[in-house]
């Protein structure tokens, strides 16, 4: 008997698109160092530039803005590091503003910088996980160097009003960064439209390879490299080009752009099917996040009196892969900081499950989940203390 595998953890990472695999297989032949002047090098560089253009088209980024990195974590760290450097150099703008629900690559950077004595303010979010604009306004001032707000949240899918935030921050003379990693391929992302100065993304969230991403940097804004040691990327990021991965990302970017509209609608439909099914078949559930501003493929649900890790593992035994905000699963005691920051009750946070859809999920799979999930919750609740 073949074991059913239903992968509903696409916000964690996505499988490679078959066209990406094919392109990468071909690109493995491109062993020339793209920085070399000879034919092999030029050939590799050509492929790289093609990918650069594909990514640029995908996010509607200004000319000359795309810098390849190892992923969004590096891109995020690069931005924070560069402003830290400016503060060290004595900039009067010496405060950074971000939010309570950013990706760990920012949350942990913030904790680190605070420990070193830097001033960083975290803008709170409402119960749907959305930035409270009045609070953001209060945090503005002429001492703010950088405002960094993610576009779509990885856990609950909430989409932030990045465009409004960018307007506000620019009005106060601050630079603006957005981590768009989760939004790519799910909602339209235009760097021009958002008006941000820096944007991070990672290929493996949209069917590209892992370990490759982009920091898009608007011309004329401050920059300092995080990696020194080479003239690649105009001195913005040292390190020999990863030809294969860059080519893979380029193909993924092209597909993401071409299929965005259709894919976005499909993901939302699957998400809503699952949400409605869960609400109809399981009593007492809480859907986390925002109804109106939500990434199409993300559904985060809390099941009171059933613990997240146990749900996850029972689902795993049925071949269904999800993730949880439960503390137990992470080896810490505190459940998801994203849910807690959104004012979700700590007990509900422990019992939260994230289903995240991708291009390979089907309606049949949703039916399968709806068949397996209710008895699991029922069983755990029966075992749970009344």
């Amino acid at each position: 008997m073949e074991q059913t595998i239903i992968y509903l953890d696409n916000n964690a990472t996505t499988p490679l698109h078959e066209d990406v695999i094919a392109a990468m297989n071909r690109a493995n032949e491109l062993y020339g160092n793209a920085s070399s002047m000879h034919a092999m090098g030029r050939e590799a560089m050509e492929a790289i530039e093609e990918s650069r253009q594909a990514v640029r088209d995908l996010i509607d980024a200004p000319e000359g803005s795309i810098v390849f990195t190892s992923g969004a974590s590096e891109a995020n760290n690069t931005v924070f590091n560069l402003f830290r450097e400016r503060i060290d150099l004595g900039s009067k703008r010496n405060r950074i503003v971000t939010t309570t629900i950013e990706h760990p690559s920012i949350i942990e950077m913030v904790a680190h910088l605070r420990e070193l004595g830097y001033t960083i303010d975290l803008c709170p979010v409402d119960h749907t996980g959305r930035v409270v604009m009045e609070e953001m306004e209060k945090l503005m001032g002429d001492d703010v160097a950088l405002v960094s707000v993610m576009l779509g949240n990885n856990e609950i899918g909430t989409i932030q009003p990045v465009k409004e935030i960018a307007l506000l921050a620019h009005h106060h003379g601050a630079y603006v960064h957005t981590d768009a990693t989760q939004a790519i391929g799910k909602i339209p992302v235009s760097m021009e439209e958002l008006g941000v100065d820096y944007l991070s993304l990672s290929a493996h969230k949209f069917y590209g390879p892992k370990g490759i991403g982009v920091l898009a940097i608007r011309k004329g804004v401050p920059f300092a490299p995080f990696f020194h040691g080479g003239h690649q990327e105009g001195g913005k990021r040292a390190g020999t080009y990863n030809n294969t991965a860059i080519v893979g990302m380029g193909v993924a970017a092209r597909i993401a752009r071409e299929e965005l509209e259709e894919e976005s609608a499909r993901l939302w439909k699957l998400r809503e099917m699952l949400r409605e099914g869960i609400e109809a078949s399981i009593p007492n559930v809480v859907v986390n996040g925002s109804r109106d501003y939500c990434l199409p493929g993300t559904l985060d649900v809390s099941f009171p009196r059933a613990e997240g890790e146990s749900i996850l593992l029972y689902l795993d035994l049925e071949g269904i892969m999800v993730s949880t905000g439960s503390a137990c699963a992470s080896g810490s005691l505190e459940p998801s900081y994203v849910l807690l920051a959104s004012g979700v009750d700590i007990e509900l946070a422990h019992g939260s499950i994230r289903f995240s859809f991708g291009r390979y999920n089907t309606e049949d799979e949703v039916h399968y989940v709806l068949e397996k999930l209710p008895p699991i919750i029922k069983r755990l609740r029966e075992m749970s203390i009344r």
Binding site: A12, E309, S323, C328, S384
Partner: protein, 202 residues
């Protein structure tokens, strides 16, 4: 969010007890308990209830309920198998190590937070003895958990106060992390701290 695949480092025994937990309480059974113990809290992510029947100073039968992760379920299930048939004294000193061993081991970080079965069992025995007006010769011999989230015991706090490593509640919090998760233990900890300060330093 975190990576769970790495967490299937559970032994086959853990997996078995997780999938088929033994001796769970069910309404229809009308289990008549002589003692009931409850530890943990929903806020900590683990809560456990143990019900025992006592005959001839032995745990004649046991049922349990738990809200918790896979290792909480498995360890309580294993505890129930070990405890049934034990004398009350044996059961009182059934250690988390013993349960973990019987399970074929647990991932390191799971050991502290999820093995609560022994404590709930102890609480059930305490309850039984109290209800029946019997003396409790063992209670003073074991550490009592004050902060469930961080598993801080009275004995641990006593040491810290005695050695003057913790001279204020803030210091105690820094050292043990008590009260930093759900916070429900704060009043009790403050009380204990005061008493101990009084005992050792005034």
């Amino acid at each position: 969010m975190s990576n769970f695949m790495a967490q299937w480092v559970y032994s086959p025994v853990v997996k078995d007890h997780f999938m088929n937990p033994r001796n769970t309480w069910s309404e229809e059974e009308h289990f008549e308990a002589d003692g009931v113990g409850e530890v943990g809290s929903l806020a900590c992510g683990d809560q456990m209830q143990v019900l025992i029947k006592v005959e001839n100073d032995r745990v004649a039968d046991l049922r349990w309920l738990t809200y918790g992760c896979a290792s909480a379920i498995a360890s309580t299930s294993m505890m129930s198998e070990l405890a049934i048939g034990m004398t009350l004294e044996e059961a009182y000193f059934l250690s988390p190590e013993r349960i973990t061993e019987a399970l074929g081991g647990l991932p390191e970080h799971k050991f502290h937070c999820s093995v609560l079965g022994d404590k709930a069992l102890r609480a059930a025995i305490d309850d039984y003895l109290k209800k029946n007006g019997k003396p409790n010769p063992w209670q003073s011999q074991v550490a009592k958990v004050i902060c469930e989230c961080k598993q801080v015991t009275d004995i641990q706090v006593e040491e810290l106060v005695k050695s003057k490593e913790a001279t204020t509640l803030e210091e105690l919090e820094k050292l043990t992390g008590y009260g930093t998760v759900c916070g429900k233990c704060k009043p009790q900890m403050a009380l204990l701290f005061d008493q101990l300060q009084h005992l050792y330093h005034v």
